[in-house]
Symmetry: C2
Amino acid sequence: MLSKTTADAPAALTLNDVAQRAGVSPMTVSNVINGKAGVRAATRQRVLDAISETGYRVNPMARTLAGGRNRILSVLTPQMNQPYASEVVQGAANAAQRLGYELIVMRSGGSNFSVMTQLAAGVLLIQPPPLPHRGDQDLRTDRLPPVVSVDGPSDHPFMVDNYGGACLAVQHLVGLGHTRIGFISGLEAEPGVAAEGAGASSGQRNDAHERFRGYRESLASAGLPVLTEYVQHGDFTKESGERAAQHLLRLPRPPTALFVSGDAMALGAIHLAQDLGLHVPDDLSVVGFDDLPIAAAARPALTTVRQPLQEMGDRAIELLVELVEHRAVVCPAPFPTTLIQRDSTAACR
Amino acid sequence: MLSKTTADAPAALTLNDVAQRAGVSPMTVSNVINGKAGVRAATRQRVLDAISETGYRVNPMARTLAGGRNRILSVLTPQMNQPYASEVVQGAANAAQRLGYELIVMRSGGSNFSVMTQLAAGVLLIQPPPLPHRGDQDLRTDRLPPVVSVDGPSDHPFMVDNYGGACLAVQHLVGLGHTRIGFISGLEAEPGVAAEGAGASSGQRNDAHERFRGYRESLASAGLPVLTEYVQHGDFTKESGERAAQHLLRLPRPPTALFVSGDAMALGAIHLAQDLGLHVPDDLSVVGFDDLPIAAAARPALTTVRQPLQEMGDRAIELLVELVEHRAVVCPAPFPTTLIQRDSTAACR
DNA sequence: TTGAAAGCGTTACCAA
DNA sequence: TTGGTAACGCTTTCAA
């Protein structure tokens, strides 16, 4: 029913067919479609009728090739099945629909950056890898459409206030009376987290540093010590959260609270604590970061620092459209985070 | 750094540029790129060198417009942030990469079906809505590329053995000694679930019926009664699972085990049981369906019927490529399900 | 083995 | 207000 091979297909419906049917020239049809001024109302109507009668749709490829704007935006993301990216994409898809653009999503890697570049009027990058391969860069950057990125470097980066978010989390824990607060960062085996001023080139590394700074400074301004043995690193997976928590909770004087730089890792930490016979939040409080859908669905529901991911995706597309349509743009300020209090944190006993 | 507007862009690199550089005609470059036989080795090498020196990439739009094959496949899915679709897409992306195709994903709805149609050499539909709007169908189905669908109708549908999966789940529960087994289906407020032979037009409804049939027949062959009050319906959300479980567990003689037609609903059921003071699995056993990532990540880890979603996505793309390349194809048999035993089921006490 | 011509469906530009 | 012409970058077809 739906499937039909190109072999036996009737010729595609073109601008010419519509023009013929409306008794005008192809150019007039084009002008009507593109909302150009200077078409008599009657003519316009005749064309419109012919379009709806035939069910004609413009061919975006031909349109692009001919130099027109194609109303296609693309998203490049390293992993399509990660909740972080999914949320951003969801917001982006909403905005695109609202603004009358089509949104196509591709998994980044390989040669597809150039495909996007030729296909789309604008590109949204989600968590682009720290070092864009030079291989892609030295191929001539001709015809490069506007690029906006969420959680990664570009001329128009969208990011969250990581420092502020970390402060929110730690201050919440401090306010609950905790004095031994551990930190699980998202910077697995990265050297020199404690050391200042490492290169801020990589978006992710920079995020990690900002969150660590928030942790460190919040502790300091509460008069609490910053212990290196209370800082562990993970890679945002649940398993890495378990490993890090295991290390932390086996310390002679283990933390009574954990600030974890990602929801999946936080859930891992909670499960490990439970395996150790600890009750969350009575024996151990845990705060996550991101507020992915799993945070609310978990038991105990996770207290976490919310990144407005859908909103960021939405706003990123809005900016991209401004760029595509050559309007003036302002670089976005970092998005504020909010603390979502749920059931994984309680007063220190 | 990455962003550069079209305005000041150098002219795009074309086949002609490469041809000039290699000292041959554009056609020869085209022939080399497309692996056509009959190009002298030396000439071929000269062209290849020119290509890599310039970093040239074919423009897929132009290629398509000119009637060539474009090695782009597209996926249309109603919700990009649902785990079900994410898993299928992940598998599809792997297969596409392996086979040298680009995969683009779009959220279905609106006019984008026709965009896909013109852009891609083949289309993969994931969970297409039950009734394809006639609006899209009466527009001339010209140039329609091959279509394959996962969990929905098409000439080449990919689905799982829903009946067998349900049998697996119920037999597992029966084997554990349970005699009061409830069922939460994915067919919210759908009339006549108990009634046979409702139209099998909708993929989802059909799935639901098949799973119910597995439940009913497994119960029957175990000599157990099929009680209508033990059957509830949800819409695959966690909340609907909670609602259905609440109804079931408040029955005078509540079930001691639940077979739930989706992992998120199953988790909702477990959480509701816990809220009622029940222990899972000691007081209530729960089996889910799908084996989404959350099933393994939850506590207690969910025993569930696994659909090989990534594999289905992978195989769907393989089939699509066969279709695109005009090879002979066989329609796929339903994929087998497997029972993944985890921690949400135990012997009836 | 190579290349010239024509055309895919659309839009920019400019003349009528 | 309308429409002709050229061009976008590529492939098909066919001739050299």
